[in-house]
């Protein structure tokens, strides 16, 4: 049992609280920050924190990674691992798309600050609308 495992076992719900802190921080960055790239960083943190929520309960103290072998009998639960693998992939796909959008927005507006862009739009009303 490693030190980290002990700490986690002692803490009981400790991992959940860390998870929740990370989540609050991530969500806060997403909603509060006006910078489009920073928002995506926050979104990443928000999503990553959820991984812990799935993975932590899957751990069995004294268990090993779910790769079958004759030497071990207790394995951690593999199903959440699978789900989170999928979630990570989905996360990076979203990120790639989000960044591509940011690049396009930057080209169209010359800014990646949400407030500035909204101002620009307000100033450009109603002229741009009609081609």
């Amino acid at each position: 049992m490693t030190g980290l495992e002990k700490a986690m076992a002692l803490g009981g719900h400790f991992t959940y609280f860390i998870t929740i802190f990370l989540m609050i921080a991530g969500l806060f960055i997403v909603i509060a920050r006006g910078n489009l790239i920073k928002k995506l960083v926050g979104l990443g943190i928000f999503q990553t924190s959820v991984y812990l929520l799935y993975i932590a309960p899957a751990k069995l103290v004294g268990g090993t990674a779910p790769i079958l072998s004759d030497a071990f009998t207790v394995y951690s639960n593999p199903l959440p691992h699978v789900l989170i693998l999928t979630a990570i992939v989905v996360g990076v796909a979203t990120l790639a798309l989000g960044l591509a959008l940011v690049v396009r927005i930057r080209e169209a507006y010359d800014s990646i600050e949400e407030d500035e862009i909204l101002d620009l739009d307000a100033a450009a009303q109603p002229g741009v609308q009609e081609p």
Binding site: Y16, V61, A65, P66, Y75, V82, L97, L99
Partner: protein, 169 residues
């Protein structure tokens, strides 16, 4: 894990986007370490390669095309703070009722999974259970996942391909 908390705190405070991106890479590495400690080796490997590798490259690529400083926020962020804390509070409320950490009698260890661990040897016979579940038992999820990646790829092409006629400014 405490290091992760610190990293995130700095990310939230910092306004230098370059620093933020590098820090988020470090954050991913820390996350991967924690995941290894939790026996999720496959996930850790993916998180390290995706979070610290691909995402950072993508962020840097995007930053290269944009500017690197974040503007000072215009208004006090009380509302977002309130929303985030409310969500966190709800989750605290929820997690307090969850089974204790590493409780072998928790439903997730009792239902569904035993078959993966016990029967898989004669049904699929692949030592890495994660691979077996990923590619076979829940193979359809993985097909969906591949489709998501494909969607993102095609989407990026659609967004970033140079046009002959540029869009109106």
């Amino acid at each position: 894990m405490v290091l992760m908390v610190v990293t995130v705190w700095v990310i939230a405070r910092s306004r230098n986007l370059f620093g933020v991106v590098i820090l988020s890479g470090i954050y991913s590495f820390l996350m991967a370490t924690v995941l290894v400690a939790m026996d999720a080796v496959d996930v850790a490997m993916t998180e390290a390669s995706v979070g610290a590798g691909i995402s950072t490259v993508l962020f840097l690529g995007a930053l290269y095309l944009c500017k690197g400083e974040e503007a000072r926020p215009m208004h006090k962020p009380w509302l977002p703070l309130g929303v985030s804390i409310a969500v966190g509070g709800l989750l605290v409320y929820g997690t307090l009722g969850l089974p204790e950490f590493s409780d072998p009698n928790a439903p997730i260890h009792q239902h569904v999974v035993p078959r993966y661990l016990n029967e898989m040897k004669k049904e699929v016979d692949v030592p890495n259970v994660v691979t077996a579940v990923l590619a076979s038992y829940r193979g359809y999820d993985t097909l969906g996942e591949t489709t998501v990646v494909f969607t993102a790829g095609a989407g990026v092409i659609a967004l970033l391909r140079r046009r002959r006629k540029n869009r109106k400014p």
